[in-house]
C-alpha cells in the first residue's frame, strides 16, 4: 500500500514538471486519435456556432439552424477542457513560471514595458483584467476576430493545423499560412503601436 502511494505520488511529480515539446506534441496526437476513433472530427471553434444556436440564432439565420443533439459531444469536450485547466493549475502545476526565452523577456520589457514573469506566465494580467479598459477592449476585439475568422475559414488551430494537416488537406495548409500572416502582422506591426 505504501509502495503504491509512493508510486502514485512520483507519477504526479513527473506530470507536474514542465513537459518537453515532443511529449506535448505526442499527447495532442493521442487526443486526435481518440477523437477520430470515437467518430468525431477534432475541432473546437464550432462551439461558438453552437452557442449562437443555443441563443436562438437558428430562427433568424439558416446558418445556425442545426440540431444541437448531434453537437452534444463537442459541448462535453469544451466543458471538460475547462475542468482540465482547473485541475492542472491546482493539482499539477509546474513549480516555476513558463520558461520563455531570454530574448522574448527583454523584448517585452524594452518594447512593451512589461515585466516577466507575471503569475505562472500564462496571461499578461497587467493588460488583460477587468479593471483595465484597454485590456477589455483588446479582449473583445481579439475574441471577435478569432470567432469571425474561424467560422469564415471553417476551422481553427485544432480543426486545420492539427486535424486538417494530419489528413493532408491543402485548404488547411493555406489556412494555417493565413494564421501566420495575421499573427505576424499583429505581433510585429500592430502590437508595437498599441501596447
Amino acid at each position: 500500500m505504501i509502495a503504491f502511494v509512493t508510486f502514485m505520488s512520483s507519477i504526479l511529480d513527473l506530470i507536474s514538471q514542465p513537459w518537453h515539446w515532443s511529449v506535448s506534441g505526442a499527447a495532442i496526437a493521442a487526443i486526435l486519435f481518440l477523437m477520430t476513433w470515437m467518430g468525431r472530427s477534432f475541432g473546437v471553434s464550432t462551439a461558438f456556432s453552437n452557442f449562437c444556436t443555443m441563443a436562438g440564432a437558428g430562427k433568424r439565420h439558416a446558418f445556425f439552424d442545426i440540431d444541437l443533439k448531434d453537437e452534444n459531444w463537442r459541448l462535453a469536450f469544451v466543458l471538460g477542457s475547462v475542468l482540465g485547466g482547473f485541475i492542472t493549475v491546482y493539482f499539477l502545476g509546474s513549480p516555476e513560471a513558463v520558461a520563455i526565452s531570454e530574448s522574448t523577456i527583454s523584448h517585452l520589457k524594452e518594447d512593451f514595458g512589461m515585466a516577466y514573469p507575471q503569475g505562472d506566465g500564462f496571461l499578461p494580467t497587467e493588460i488583460f483584467n477587468f479593471f483595465n479598459p484597454k485590456g477589455i477592449i483588446l479582449a473583445i476585439i481579439g475574441g471577435f476576430l478569432v470567432g469571425f475568422g474561424a467560422r469564415y475559414g471553417r476551422g481553427c488551430t485544432s480543426g486545420h493545423a492539427i486535424t486538417g494537416l494530419s489528413h493532408l488537406q491543402l485548404p488547411s495548409l493555406i489556412t494555417v499560412i493565413g494564421f501566420f500572416i495575421g499573427g505576424l502582422l499583429m505581433t510585429w506591426v500592430i502590437m508595437p503601436l498599441i501596447f
Partner: protein, 138 residues
C-alpha cells in the same frame, strides 16, 4: 449520456495537456510569432507528423470508429483567397489575445475570468459571420 461522459473525459485530459504543454500561454504564442523559441513549432510539428501517421494507418487498415464509420475528412473546396483572408483575420486575433478557441476554455478553467468575455466576443464574431457570410468571397 455515455457519449457526454466520454467526451467530457477526453476534454478534461485535453485541458491538462494544453496547460502542461504551455500552448495556452499568451507568452508562448508571442514568442512563437517572434521566432524566439522552437517550443511551439516542436509541439505542432510533432502532433502533425504523428497525427498524419496515425490517420494514414487508420485509413490503411480500415479501422472502424465507435460510430461504425470509416475514418475520413469532409474535403473543403479549394479557394485560396478565402483561406488566406479568413486565416489572417483569425491570426490577428490569435496573436493579440494569445489564445485560439481551445485554450480560451482551458484558460477560463485556470481562473482567468476575462476569458469569459473573450469567448462571448468570439461567439459574437461567429454570429456576425453567419449574418454577413453571403456578402463575403467564398
Amino acid at each position: 449520456m455515455k457519449q457526454f461522459i466520454s467526451f467530457f473525459t477526453v476534454g478534461t485530459v485535453f485541458g491538462i495537456i494544453m496547460t502542461k504543454s504551455e500552448a495556452v500561454s499568451w507568452f508562448r504564442i508571442h514568442e512563437m510569432f517572434r521566432f524566439e523559441s522552437f517550443h511551439m513549432y516542436g509541439i505542432i510539428g510533432t502532433a502533425v507528423v504523428l497525427g498524419a501517421i496515425i490517420i494514414a494507418l487508420m485509413k490503411r487498415f480500415k479501422v472502424k470508429t465507435l460510430r461504425d464509420t470509416f475514418v475520413g475528412y469532409m474535403p473543403m473546396q479549394l479557394h485560396i483567397p478565402r483561406h488566406l483572408l479568413a486565416g489572417s483575420i483569425f491570426g490577428l486575433g490569435w496573436a493579440l489575445i494569445g489564445a485560439c478557441p481551445g485554450p480560451m476554455f482551458v484558460l477560463l478553467g485556470q481562473g482567468f475570468g476575462i476569458m469569459a468575455l473573450v469567448i462571448l466576443s468570439g461567439t459574437l464574431g461567429t454570429y456576425t459571420y453567419g449574418v454577413v457570410k453571403d456578402k463575403l468571397p467564398h
